[in-house]
């Protein structure tokens, strides 16, 4: 049962939500607003009527985890607020796999570098791994890269990340599923990006976790 904190809105004012990632965080491939998915999560947490909360989302299309590590000090650390409970929701397991030699372990190691920086600042870190790509695949994709990417998702799901919480999105209804499923126009813009309806499912999963831990 909710206590005085929730009844009178203390719960929401002392939270700082920050999203970092790639185009899946940016989530505007279908023409909807930039940072669509994080904003859906924000509205769920803050209910939009609550003032005094902190929120930002800086996902960039095409961004690799190596870039995110390099930019952490300049772009993420300054948003940490020592007077609040700080949650950093982060994902990248796509763009590094643009060559055949980048392995799942490579991505895992870089993600852990990022997480180490974030935890040193004080963030509670929530990571998530995406879903399998759908057919038809992009022209630059191939079986090796898909296999390496799967390795990363498996390693992360098996506890390989040092984040506080990790979400494996391969189990999402209508978005997840096994390798090689065909795109569904209701939820997929292309082989990986989601429509607003797909992003709503993704946001609901993240919101569910936040409501559990807030």
């Amino acid at each position: 049962m909710i206590g005085l904190k929730g009844i009178y809105g203390f719960k929401y004012e002392d939270i700082n939500l920050f999203f970092d990632g790639n185009s899946l965080t940016l989530s505007n491939q279908d023409g909807s607003i930039a940072q669509y998915m994080p904003n859906v999560v924000k509205q769920g947490v803050y209910m939009d009527s609550i003032s005094g909360m902190d929120f930002d989302s800086i996902g960039v299309g095409g961004q690799k985890i190596a870039t995110m590590v390099a930019n952490y000090t300049a772009n993420v650390a300054p948003s940490y607020d020592g007077t609040k409970t700080n949650y950093l929701i982060v994902a990248e397991g796509e763009n590094g796999f643009d060559n055949d030699t980048y392995t799942g372990q490579d991505n895992l190691d870089l993600m852990n570098d990022y997480i180490a920086l974030a935890k040193a600042t004080g963030w509670t870190v929530v990571t998530w791994g995406a879903w399998y790509k759908r057919t038809p695949y992009s022209a630059s994709d191939n079986a090796t890269r898909r296999s390496n990417r799967k390795d990363y998702l498996d390693l992360a799901a098996a506890g390989g990340l040092n984040s506080d919480y990790h979400l494996d999105m391969r189990t999402l209804d209508n978005v997840g599923g096994v390798q090689g499923l065909p795109q569904d126009a209701t939820y997929n813009v292309d082989w990986i990006h989601l429509t607003a309806a797909g992003n709503d499912i993704l946001a609901a999963k993240i919101l569910e976790k936040l409501q559990e831990i807030l």
């Binding site: 049962m1 206590g3 005085l4 929730g6 009844i7 009178y8 003032s51």
Partner: protein
């Protein structure tokens, strides 16, 4: 001042909402929330969630009427009462909780534009003297509990700084051994200001009281609150964890 007849006398007082559930869950002796008011002209009655032996509080004069706001964004769009100048609500109850050697007082409020001075949130006192009282107040930027029994006083305050125009939830407890004060769900370090009365002092050690009030300390030379108060309650002490749980939920 607001004129608003017969507000919230049926739905919220007799159950169904989450505040009623908290009242039952924590066995409050008396509990007051700004959702549960009866405002008739220049009189605001703060209705007790205890409907068996209720102690409703009301402003004695029109000039003491706190200002009602139906939906206050400071409190998650719940109703609020603002206390300014000499606004307060009171019940002239004799020796409130005189048998209680332990207990918890809970309050949710915003501080005023200044916290420099003495601003009582909740009190039970003798109205004609300064010598019998229990008062919880914002005092010079701290949360303070003061108990005076004749010529003796037990007074403690938090180390945490209370800033102007901020929202707080506090719980002041006596477990039979010592008093503690929690602010926003955390027990704060306490400084003892005066201890000529025992550290175990609570309602049972303070005779000769003739009132229970929110927003004022009514005594010879009264003090008044400056800010909003939306919740006040007195309940039994069970454990430190139960004291904090009211804030966080369960």
């Amino acid at each position: 001042m607001l004129s608003n007849c017969i507000r919230n006398t049926i739905d919220s007082k007799r159950g169904g909402d989450v505040l009623s559930a908290l009242f039952s869950k924590y066995s409050f002796y008396n509990m007051y929330a700004t959702k549960n008011l009866n405002i008739v002209g220049s009189t605001t009655s703060h209705l007790d969630y205890n409907t068996t032996t209720p102690l409703d509080l009301a402003n004695p004069l029109s000039t003491n009427q706190p200002t009602y706001l139906d939906s206050d964004s400071d409190f998650n769009n719940k109703p609020s009462l603002s206390y300014i100048t000499n606004d307060y609500v009171i019940n002239m109850a004799a020796d409130y909780r005189i048998s209680d050697s332990t207990g918890v007082i809970d309050l949710v409020f915003t501080s005023g534009t200044t916290v420099t001075g003495d601003f009582p949130l909740f009190a039970s006192s003798q109205s004609t003297t300064t010598t019998y009282k229990l008062v919880v107040w914002v005092a010079n930027g701290k949360i303070k509990l003061a108990i005076r029994i004749g010529g003796n006083t037990y007074a403690i305050e938090t180390g945490v700084i209370i800033n102007p125009l901020q929202k707080y939830s506090i719980s002041v407890q006596q477990n039979g051994t010592s008093a503690k004060i929690a602010v926003n769900g955390v027990f704060e370090a306490i400084t003892t200001i005066l201890i000529t009365a025992p550290a175990t002092s609570w309602f049972n050690t303070i005779p000769n009281r003739d009132n229970l009030s929110i927003g004022a300390l009514i005594q010879s030379g009264s003090f008044y609150y400056n800010g909003k108060i939306v919740f006040a309650g007195v309940r039994p002490y069970i454990s430190d964890a139960k004291t904090l749980e009211l804030f966080t939920g369960f």
